[in-house]
Symmetry: C2
Subunit: 328 residues, 2 copies
Amino acid sequence: MSYQGRLGERRIIEIIIELQEKMRGNPLPFGDDVSAIRLGKGRLAVLKCDMLVGLTDVPSGMSLWQASRKAVVASVSDLAAKGVQPKAILVSLGLPKGLSEGEVREIGSGLNSGAREYSAFVLGGDINESKDLSIDVFAFGICKEKDLVRRDSSRAGDIVAVTGSFGLTGLGLRIIKENLAVPKMLRDEATSAVYMPKARLVEGLALARRHLIDSSIDSSDGLAWSLHELAKAGAVGFEIDRIPIHSGVNGFALESGLDPLDLAFYSGEEYELVVTMRLDNFERAKRAVSSLVAIGRVVSDSGKIILKSDGKVHEIASRGYEHFSENL
Amino acid sequence: MSYQGRLGERRIIEIIIELQEKMRGNPLPFGDDVSAIRLGKGRLAVLKCDMLVGLTDVPSGMSLWQASRKAVVASVSDLAAKGVQPKAILVSLGLPKGLSEGEVREIGSGLNSGAREYSAFVLGGDINESKDLSIDVFAFGICKEKDLVRRDSSRAGDIVAVTGSFGLTGLGLRIIKENLAVPKMLRDEATSAVYMPKARLVEGLALARRHLIDSSIDSSDGLAWSLHELAKAGAVGFEIDRIPIHSGVNGFALESGLDPLDLAFYSGEEYELVVTMRLDNFERAKRAVSSLVAIGRVVSDSGKIILKSDGKVHEIASRGYEHFSENL
């Protein structure tokens, strides 16, 4: 049977993971947001790589400075979800021929900004000629193993919470791609969310170090996808009863016939954290992270993500970003 | 002044490094083979990323399995030069659309083989759609700071040595690119050197852990380039009086009007180690690494690389691999 052209990204990942010999006593399984290796005395080295590719990850109008900064932010976001401070960043660049000195300066400066905003340093890298721009960021941090927030440790009865509202990035991407007519202030805010994303590092560290959360993931592949990944890893389900949608986005969507829930669930490139925690911990967590919003609860019905809204029950489809497959 | 199309790889690296804020007390400067960060108690985390790009780094006839394995070997080689055992490998893949399941399996299996040959494990990665194949490998290891072999610590009076003979890869690349007519056995050996390179990890660890060498670099950008980098970093020069050239290559080159020194000095993709050491240490080093060959000595004349052969003195030009610049 030929899979030519039809292998999706997730299937490719499965095949490749299946072929790797597994390290015994690996503190984190394949498929969590980061990789980890024990350093002794209860400490872990935490490692993450995340490649930004010009072809798929750089929306029109994004500068090289912004793309380079964003590449770093995406890796920082994964460490943030685990409660790990990034220390060192390495960057491999695939650069098309013919860049000007100014363009190279944008890239160098964007990488530095992305790292320094989160108190990390770019320590090294590699550079290559390639047809398309690629910026591959490797982030390294250290944490106590007991502080690491895993993806697979949700517990039935927990509440599910997020660190902020959704939909702004989704609207921004549609403004950029479809040239949607949107009032200037909202347009600026939405496109900024795309061009200048922020990682929720302070929030991730605050929740992890106080041991307030049971599991966590970032929402970079879309909220729906993140909920499904978190549910799958923890062998639980979620009943969601509200999604905080950015108020400007919600108002605009309702006026213009867009579905605000669609913007919130299926956008991606939105770097909020999705966490689960004991109900008892919510008040303390809210004091530590004021943007935190409870959105539902963890149930034992494995893999099911249900949205209850207006007295109706919807099942949230497990789709997100998939670049490879034709069938999104 | 426009640099459009004329910025070489080294100049791009300079610009980008210049724009990075420097971490205080960084144990290794930018420009060494790896990056490092202190873990406390005299230990270092050692980090390396190295991207293989289909366009420039995969010679014709190299399988996806071989390319994937080679991508890992190239990063391992940099850790080998520093005397560091790689523990964990992460891999970011940029994959063209339309790969078959068999091709994806080749990639997964090649990555695993590259890691396991050197007792490391692939712990994670990232996958993306891209126009051209790229395989970016991050290698992570731990060492004692006092065991790390730097690039900048050659001392005048040291001898210079290499871990093996040169020229086979250079011949192999010419066989592949120019379809050079070469006797079958030599052809097989030379093309194997290209398709299945080996990192000198055992040798690097043996020399570093016995504290037998003062400085080290691998020869992946070509022997000439490596000598110049090592000299520049240490603010020394080298007087080279012999280069071990693979005997079959030497014989074939002389018969067919090729310059064996050219094959040895300017090939790249050859993963020997180039080290400097006290003369006193050479015998012990040779017992630890039997393939070790002394090729010359370190002099205080900074940056000068001289080859003395047949009573004549040649200056070894500082050229190697540069993909970007038109002017090689």
